[in-house]
């Protein structure tokens, strides 16, 4: 489960002026559900996800992931999440097997556990053919599969995805969508940040719309449509003008 309460992140720009990347954001993601954090570019989605995954510290507010407070037990939080973005890189000179072993070891897994989990993930994502090929030599689809496997090597209960299909072709995107569905089916908590409305409609059990750092809508897709119209895209644009909630 992910629980975010009154989360804020403030920066100072070069002129020392305050910039509110996230301001008083609150939402809750339950296990076995996909929660969408939706917003236009620069809305504060990535900042919020970075705070939840402990990469950034909040200026105020709290986030609890899998029962661990992000500020008090950041290492445990990181051990509980699998983080995936579309533009995340891979170590080009390592093979997918070595990448999985590296992250498995960082998660404190034993060599035999890593080996058996690698076989399991390789079967699940059809990675056998390229498991020992340098990542630099892999196609985009293969790299994305490797990245998914990397984020799942330690079987995390929480999956955080930051625009995971941005810039990917249809086939690779479908693979990601399938992966999200399977994670939900396995009872994992999935937090998905995206601005692709079709994905939101197909995947999200609940969502929050964020704009200029503040949450403008919190509810389900149906509730959003009821409030702002049947077309999801129109509803999304309409919600951007709502008062922060």
């Amino acid at each position: 489960m992910i629980e975010v309460r009154e989360l804020s992140k403030t920066y100072r720009d070069r002129r020392k002026a305050l910039l509110h990347a996230v301001e008083g954001a609150s939402f809750r993601c339950e296990p076995g559900r996909v929660f969408g954090l939706i917003g236009p570019n620069g809305a504060g989605k990535t900042t919020a996800l970075r705070i939840i995954s402990t990469a950034l510290r909040p200026t105020s507010g709290h986030a609890v992931v899998a029962g661990f407070d992000t500020q008090r037990e950041p290492a445990r939080v990181r051990a509980s999440i699998g983080f995936l973005t579309a533009n995340v890189g891979l170590y080009g000179r390592l093979t997918p097997r070595e990448v999985l072993r590296f992250f498995g070891e960082l998660h404190g897994m034993s060599r035999p556990d890593i080996a058996s989990r690698t076989s399991e993930l390789s079967r699940a994502f059809q990675m056998d053919d390229f498991l020992d090929r340098a990542c630099d030599k892999l196609s985009l689809g293969m790299r994305q599969k490797t990245n998914i496997a990397r984020s799942l090597i330690h079987s995390p209960p929480v999956i955080i995805l930051d625009e995971p299909t941005a810039g990917l072709d249809v086939l690779t995107s479908r693979g990601i969508v399938e992966f999200i569905r399977e994670s939900r089916a396995e009872g994992k908590t999935v937090l998905l940040s995206t601005h692709i409305m079709s994905e939101v409609e197909r995947l999200c059990d609940g969502l929050a719309i964020i704009h200029e750092g503040r949450i403008r809508f919190r509810g389900t897709v149906e509730e959003l449509k009821q409030r702002h119209g049947a077309d999801l895209e129109d509803a999304f644009v309409g919600a951007l003008g709502d008062e922060p909630c």
């Binding site: 970075r50 995954s53 402990t54 990469a55 950034l56 510290r57 290492a75 990181r78 051990a79 999440i81 983080f83 973005t85 533009n87 995340v88 890189g89 891979l90 170590y91 080009g92 000179r93 390592l94 070595e98 590296f102 992250f103 070891e105 960082l106 998660h107 404190g108 990397r150």
Partner: protein, 519 residues
């Protein structure tokens, strides 16, 4: 904690070792090729200078000036120790050695060959050298003298010894001649023709007043001659003779001509003074009232060499260490940011400190490896590329204990470099930005690292606290066998503190959100 640091270190090591660019451009090129080039170039420079010393120089002079000069050269030669040796050896041995000469009178023959016709001189010396080589090849045991004497089977032991000493004498003579006054070809002053000044040419004052100034200037500039000689005798028998050689210091052979003529003038002057002193039966002390005794230096040849060259070794080691860490630091910091792999690592259970230390250790490893590889490569290049006579003269000897004491001093600076380079690299947004931040650093690093090259600068308590300067100065002292444990301890302490500060800065940078997510 250690497990995560080790995991990160091992992954970075595999990644770096597979990066051919790092291996070739940051490790192999500077550490292997650079010393090879350095000593190869030195060897080439030495050969070039030696070759220049054996090259013929062309000097224009009037017949009168040439005769006066040859007479002076003749006198200085006969007064030299070699001239005396040859004068005393009035045997057929020398005559045989120098070829099928009709004359056994060395006083006439040798100087004529040297100072007369250049072609004859060259043939003569070439013949001598070749004969000497033959003798060395053939000459074994008591048969040496016999063969040297043209196959005489009944050569006496005295002949053998004489042949040996003459062979040595010829070798010495050959060397002295080539380094000194030999190989001057005189041409008549009429051969320089009439010169015409080009636009922008400005005659020096000494030639403006000379009646053939323009011709001399243009002939020198066109390299048709390397010098124009004038010898003006003084009024009386004991008046000063003036030698004047117009030459161009910017042209190597012209400079060489000046050096040869100057040497003849100086030695001839000394020879004449010695002769006059003998004629007047002046005591030896008249010419040499004070003599500085030689051979009183208590330092070994190796220590003297290391005292002069020892500063170069820490300078190069520090440079290799710095360069060895440079590219990996950029790759592991800014490179990871650019490839979007850093965030994934930051979201693993490893703490920022563990990530920073794992990466730091890898850069420290490449830095130390480069230093060790560089020094090994320098040693091998030095032993194989420097000419034998240079090696014999320097006679550098460093024992294992000294090498370890000096080598240990490179460890803290390498750690400091690794910490500093990574701290700057992680601050940069991109690989290119990191390169532009780090490119000026070698210049900053060179100044303190070259402290050991400053003559007369000795380590003291104050300097022992200045990082890099202390390592440079102390390593030089340690290498020449002058190990002061007080300064050594201070140096190690200050360098460790500096290294710790650099590593702490690196960890601090990794913990800063504004740094790792900069851009």
């Amino acid at each position: 904690m250690l497990r995560n640091i080790w995991t990160i270190y091992r992954k970075e090591l595999i990644d770096t070792l597979r990066d051919r660019k790092t291996l070739i451009f940051m490790l192999l090129l500077p550490t292997v090729l650079a010393p090879a080039l350095m000593f190869g170039l030195s060897n080439f420079a030495i050969s070039f200078v030696k070759k220049q010393a054996t090259q013929e120089v062309i000097i224009a002079a009037s017949a009168e000036a040439r005769d006066r000069y040859v007479a002076l050269a003749h006198r200085q030669f006969l007064e030299s120790s070699l001239g005396k040796t040859l004068k005393m050896s009035r045997t057929g041995v020398v005559s045989y050695l120098i070829g099928k000469s009709a004359s056994n009178d060395l006083e006439e023959q040798v100087p004529a060959a040297i100072f007369g016709d250049a072609v004859a001189y060259r043939d003569w010396t070439t013949g001598l050298a070749r004969r000497m080589e033959d003798m060395a090849r053939e000459g074994k045991g008591s048969d040496f003298g016999g063969k040297a004497l043209g196959g005489a089977a009944n050569a006496s032991p005295a002949d053998t010894e004489l042949a040996k000493s003459m062979a040595q004498g010829v070798a010495d003579f050959y060397t002295v001649s080539l380094r000194g006054v030999g190989l001057v070809r005189f041409v008549g002053e009429e051969e320089i023709g009439d010169g015409v000044l080009q636009e922008g040419d400005v005659l020096p004052e000494s030639l403006v007043v000379h009646e053939r100034g323009t011709a001399i200037y243009t002939a020198l500039k066109a390299r048709r001659i390397h010098g124009y000689l004038e010898v003006v005798p003084g009024g009386g028998s004991e008046a000063t003779t003036t030698i004047r050689l117009f030459h161009d210091e910017t042209i190597p052979l012209s400079r060489e001509a000046s050096s040869r003529v100057e040497k003849v003038g100086r030695l001839a002057g000394e020879a004449i003074v010695a002769e006059r002193a003998r004629e007047r039966k002046l005591p030896a002390g008249f010419l040499e009232p004070v003599r500085m005794e030689r051979g009183t230096n208590i330092a070994s040849q190796s220590q003297v060499a290391l005292s002069a060259l020892g500063g170069m070794i820490p300078y190069l080691v520090l440079t290799f260490a710095f360069l060895g860490g440079l590219y990996p630091a950029i790759d592991l910091g800014a490179g990871e940011k650019e490839r979007n792999t850093l965030e994934t690592l930051l979201l693993s259970p490893a703490t920022r400190t563990e990530i920073a230390l794992g990466k730091f250790l890898l850069i420290f490893t490449t830095s130390m490896s480069a230093a060790l590889l560089g020094i090994a490569s320098m040693a091998v290049s030095f032993l194989h590329l420097m000419p034998d006579f240079v090696l014999e003269r320097l006679d550098i000897r460093i024992d294992i204990y000294t090498a370890l004491c000096a080598g240990a001093l490179a460890i803290p600076p390498a750690a400091a470099f690794a910490g500093l380079l990574l701290a700057i690299s992680i601050y940069a947004r991109t690989f290119k930005e990191a390169q532009s931040y780090l490119s000026p650093l070698p210049i900053v690093m060179v100044l303190p690292a070259s402290a050991g090259l400053i003559p007369g600068l000795e380590i003291n308590a104050g300097l022992a606290m200045v990082p890099l300067v202390n390592v440079s100065l102390l390593s030089r002292d340690v290498l020449k066998g002058d190990l002061h444990w007080g300064y050594y301890s201070l140096t190690v302490l200050s360098c460790l503190l500096f290294a710790a500060a650099c590593v702490a800065l690196c960890v601090f940078m990794f913990k800063r959100e504004s740094v790792v997510f900069r851009g």
